[in-house]
Amino acid sequence: MEIDFVIEKFILVTAIFAISLLIAMYSTYAERKVAAFLQDRLGPDRAGPFGILQPLADGVKMFMKEEVIPANANKWLFMFGPGLAMLCACIGTAVIPWGQDMMIGDRLVKLQVADINVGLLYIFGVIALGVYGVMIGGWASNNKYSLLSAIRAASQNISYEIAMGLSIIALLLVTNSLSLREIVAQQHGWHWNVLYQPLGFIIFMVCAFAETNRAPFDLPECEAELNGGYTIEYSSMKLGFYLFAEYINMFVSSTIMAALYFGGYNYPGMDYMAELLGPTWAPLFGTLIFFLKIFGFIFFFMWVRWTIPRFRYDQLMNLGWKGLIPLAIANIIITGIVIAIVNKF
């Protein structure tokens, strides 16, 4: 293995990790500001101009709080839970193509950590793994509320994973590839997958909301019934990790939606810009556009949270099993038939 290859990937991984953390940090701020805007309030405005230092203050507060581990908790698993939640949230970004190949000097740099040819399935696997952090933490707390919450989280995730997988199958019929790099590259020039798979996109998005435990599917952390859910026994930075993992998950889900359905780094007038800016800056501009799309989705996540009330548990299960899964199967069949007809003529 060449040393410059290792250095290149190391820089890329560090940058992506730092950016994910930064975005998650400012998502907490953005969430409060969006909530304030939607409820006609001001939101945080004390720390720094417009309150932009608020996430830093929150972070320091989290670190300074006393750590409490309940006497009857399973100590190692109690500590392992938040760490696992954080790990699962972060590793999803490894296969995302952040931009086109970029020329730095005379070196071609891929703006993607790992181009594996089962990238889409990898992401699906990481999402499937995400529930363990909640389950282990909820169980290890040795508290009935957190256990109930963990079980809710598990059944919710399993139910919505099925519909999500089925919506991805329909997408695969269109793209013919499992590599995210391929899928994004195919969407060049307005061939965005959302135009071919509108129903699939809606199903995928609803499932993404459920998988990230965001409102209206935030039943695992339902205050009214569960006193805060699986985080009830957690304090200090362990609690911070869980909350942070949720925002990173939101960022990763937004990234996946933008990459799979909304063209990733592709934008109209791309070829013109590529000529104008040259091979170094044009890919970076694409990356910027990609991030704008991601921020759009993150805003949508927040918008929905402060608009739609929470589902009841039976409604959640009904929607998942009797609504989304049949719809996703119908979507696969329709997509298959249309592709067969198009290929024939």
């Binding site: 040819n117 696997g125 499937a128 256990l147 963990a150």
Partner: protein
């Protein structure tokens, strides 16, 4: 490098598999089982069977083990609720385990160390070639096994259905 990675991961698999059996707490057993499956995933990657690796990851680690954990957490098994095993059961367990050990040792004795297997087609485990195999020469067995799974699913749904009261 491949061989040393293999030995490292193989050791981990064996240790985790042993811990599944020896762990006192059923939840810990399941967690070790998850780790075992994860090491299997690494083995598949080392064998260049990417699709199998990811499917093992999604299906076993991501779905089946979540259900295991789910059920165990609901049941909340512990020492007190564990039924007392009689001496008779323990003796039978020892005999059965001994038989298995003898069989394993016997079959291992006849195994000779061979040179590492070289795949004729290194891309055999990739999605494309696997799909072509499954929907080409192995079409019938593939479809039959999917029918089998479907019937199992229908059966499970039927079992959970409440019996209708005949006179009611």
């Amino acid at each position: 490098m491949g061989t040393s990675v293999f030995y490292f991961v193989a050791t981990l698999s064996v240790i985790c598999a042993l811990m599944v059996v020896f762990a006192k707490n059923p939840i810990h057993s399941v967690l070790y089982l998850i780790l075992t499956f994860f090491t299997f995933t690494v083995h598949y990657v080392l064998l260049n069977a990417q699709f199998l690796a990811v499917v093992n990851f999604i299906v076993y680690m991501g779905a089946i083990m979540v259900l295991f954990l789910f059920v165990l957490m609901l049941l909340n098994l512990n020492k007190e609720s564990e039924p007392n095993k009689s001496v008779f059961l323990k003796i039978i367990g020892v005999i059965a385990g001994g038989c298995l050990a003898v069989t394993l040792i016997g079959s291992l004795k006849s195994v000779a160390i061979t040179s590492p297997l070289v795949l004729k087609n290194p891309s055999l485990g990739l999605v494309e070639s696997l799909g072509k195999e499954l929907f080409g020469p192995f079409m019938l067995p593939f479809e039959l096994s999917s029918l089998l799974l479907l019937s199992a699913m229908v059966g499970a749904v039927l079992l959970t259905k409440r019996e209708e009261k005949t006179n009611g």
